[in-house]
Symmetry: C2
Amino acid sequence: MDDPQIPEDPVAELITNYNELNSCIIEDLDEEPSPLEFMRFVARNTPFVVRGAAADWQATRTWNVEFLKDFLQDESVNVAVTPKGNADSPTVFTDSEGNTTLVFAKPHEEDQPFSTFLDYLIKQEHQLQPTRPQQEEEEVRYAQTQNDNLRHEYLALFSHVQRTIPFARIALDREPDAINLWIGNSRSVTALHKDNYENIYVQVTGQKHFVLLPPVCQPCVNEQMLRPARYERSSSPSSGNGTNTNTDGRLELVVEDEKAERVPFATWDPDLPRENQTRYSKLAEPMRVTLNPGDMLYLPCMWYHKVSQSCSPEGVCIAVNYWYDMDFSGPLYPLSTFVRSVSNREI
Amino acid sequence: MDDPQIPEDPVAELITNYNELNSCIIEDLDEEPSPLEFMRFVARNTPFVVRGAAADWQATRTWNVEFLKDFLQDESVNVAVTPKGNADSPTVFTDSEGNTTLVFAKPHEEDQPFSTFLDYLIKQEHQLQPTRPQQEEEEVRYAQTQNDNLRHEYLALFSHVQRTIPFARIALDREPDAINLWIGNSRSVTALHKDNYENIYVQVTGQKHFVLLPPVCQPCVNEQMLRPARYERSSSPSSGNGTNTNTDGRLELVVEDEKAERVPFATWDPDLPRENQTRYSKLAEPMRVTLNPGDMLYLPCMWYHKVSQSCSPEGVCIAVNYWYDMDFSGPLYPLSTFVRSVSNREI
């Protein structure tokens, strides 16, 4: 087409234009921004990291395995259980006839005594040493309820972190909608997804490895409408599960009813870029950042993020995040929907 | 199409979604916002008006016809001259064979003594009384050079306005790129267009009537690639032009060379909604606001605006605006280009 106003592929042009105007290297701040400085990042929907911002928090200074076990003891906590650390992930389901489909796998959820859960994480993590064979059959556990758990389930620990992030509270003029605690080991990976929240993520112990994509990269992530499925424990006891929990059945992936509402979900993994790619995936320029204990990440609303983790020498990875409601007014939200609508027609 | 992810018309969905999430009534503030409050408006690319914010400015208190004529006397000023007040407007051009095309009409520009220019505006404005027949042949004059004229051509007046708008300077962390003075009468109308600037507009005397459309309304404005044209004074003197200027030739619209770069420009007028409409124009919900003397408008970057004016009883309309460079990083600029690219293919 000759008219310069009509590019051959507007979706490719969008991603290329964005990449030209924005760096894929995250901005690294020496100290927390002022509310106004933060609001500038919100306005341009751009992440940053503040190294050591939470280094002095009581959580960062005191939360280790001994302290937490003493503190919470056998308190019952909700644990997400999956065979491969794939809670809330696109997962291949094989039916009884051997046919495969990609489904959205939700974890089995069960309550476990906190100390049992923590012992399990640590034991499994230490088995991951290169000199020992990985036990493929072993289930993966992750405390990852994103329901404001630090002000409910883990309320006893809440006073060890900040009640809010002052620069965000002042800038956004609101209290956090949810504050979540995440406890897991390196077997759990959070699949690429996005949230309609402004997110402040704080690393307490261990490391988190983020792969980030801006909202305009929606056409790269191969969003599909997946049938929901959930892991369930079968009633038959598994063989060789030596942990002292009350849960010993094997995990079985059960696909929900045909009528269950399908879940739109990214199926492209920036770390396996040739699998499940769209014609636009190769244009994505992922931003990568690793959080060390005490680091704070601003993850703007609607950014895609994949999160993997490394453990502290003790064998756990712990983080806290603050979700602030995003502002749905203004152009960003309807424009993001527009990108999805257009690219779903193009692909 | 059955898939809810693929609407039949993504462009219509975009405009409808935007309208549902945003009011078309402008926010009316009692006092100037703090830098942080302003940044929240910048972040959501949303206009506001502050009534009386500039009521105490020396300009608002002292600029009347007598004062300005005393102050500037016969200083030479640049004046945009058009037959119908259509500087920088889509205009029908009729060639020697009677064929018509829509062109982008730039004004004839000439220097005039300030007092002569002001007398002309006032005399013409007072002729517009309903009891007197409008003189169709009479040219329209407008001081509207948007080249930082208040810090150059009209430097003598600059100390009567603020050097910058503090809340904007602090929030955006920059000085204004341009400060422009506008002097005209009710015969001039600025056609619907957009600027890549954050704009603070201050009314000094008379009124400005804004019709505003957000950037997502690009598909409504019927942007076309227009051939540029410019009004030129013919050398033959006009008949019956009784003003005492040194410029008495008639205005003639001269279309630029075929090779001249075409100008992308909105051709839809929200005040004549059935003319030049696109299939999306009817979805637009224009925001309308009138500025009275001392009022201040925040016009966010990339908003379409049509501006007409009413005069003070003395017969002039005077305003000042501050342009701050917009931030091209972040998603808004590439997404706006995307909307244009997609809708140009749809229409």
